[in-house]
Amino acid sequence: MTVSTQSRGGGGVVDRGGGGPGGGLADVVELILDKGLVIDVFVRVSLVGIEILTIDARIVVASVDTFLRFAEATNRADLYGKGAKPKDLGELTQSITEGGAKGKTSGVLDAAVDKVGEMLASGREDREAVRRRPRQRERDE
């Protein structure tokens, strides 16, 4: 139905709302509960779930929870380092580890490598990755 979806298929960089042109339920809620014509003749019927939906659609608060979420996300972003993307993690791990072995890593990178090592260890039980952590390597040497 939408020209955009038909003409683009999955080729573009811009996401399209899945299903109908309205996308997901959150998009629909934002549109039809917040906007559109209101005439006083309409009865305000009792509505199941609407209060909750409306509140969900309007979370604009700069709450402590939001701040903590961003603190967490910032710590995660730090793991990836400058300009690196999550998919480059394997490569990054290796280069940092090598740097660490030469005694050139800063405290920041050490910690990052520790965390990456933990992630790899817990994720894949990769003993190789754990052994490559700088501190352990120092002991090996």
Binding site: L25, V28, L37, V48, D78
Partner: protein, 261 residues
Amino acid sequence: MSDVVSETQTPPDGDAELVTPVYVYGLIRVDTQLPDDLAGLGPSGRVSTIEHGEVAAIVSDIPLDRPLGTRKDLLAHESVVDAVAASAAVLPMRFPAVTAEESVVEELLAPHQDHFLAVLGDLEGRVQFTLKGRYVEDAVLSEVLEGNDEIRALQEKVRDLPEDASYYDRVRLGELVVGVLEQQREDDAAQILERLEPFAVAVVANQPGQPEDVINAAFLVERERMQEFDDAVENVGRDLDGRVRLRLLGPLAPYDFVPEE
């Protein structure tokens, strides 16, 4: 029976006669052809019109055994309105719009006909697109860390402390990051709007909801320029790739361009 029925069954004049409640999706010009495959939110599933002069209301029955407001009800409202909007001018109602069948003409269409016709005339040949943009978290947070010494220092401090010892520092860190993002998005949103405005008749920039949201804007676009607008969005998306993720909804009914009465 449910509240829906008891409320809608009592007309304002106190007359206890039974009335038929109807759901109103939106308003169209009377000569508008409705798509065949519309599915209403009532038990019959059918969608029809109630006409008066040159305007018509798109209506259906409503469920009588439960209050409105389920996910299905919301999606039905949206899909009926947007399906009509795909090919014709429609003035969308806000969810939920329930009234007695006879008041559709008496209280909605007849008294406001001229106003509705004027608005529908303005919307003729135009559709809405809604553009939402969100920062790619890791890329932008790395930028924030790189570019702000205070945040960088605090992040390093927080990272080395046990979680319960760093609570207030973490709150402060998040607050600083959110502040930077909110500042940054003003520039980013302004640039996106500047590039897309030439392709739209009108633009409404809504306040983005979350700190990582960059833009939430509605564009009223001429039907003939839909592809042009779409291409422009795609170009902006390509330039921002890796930093901002854009999502385009539409064509939609012109929810954001319904004039306040």
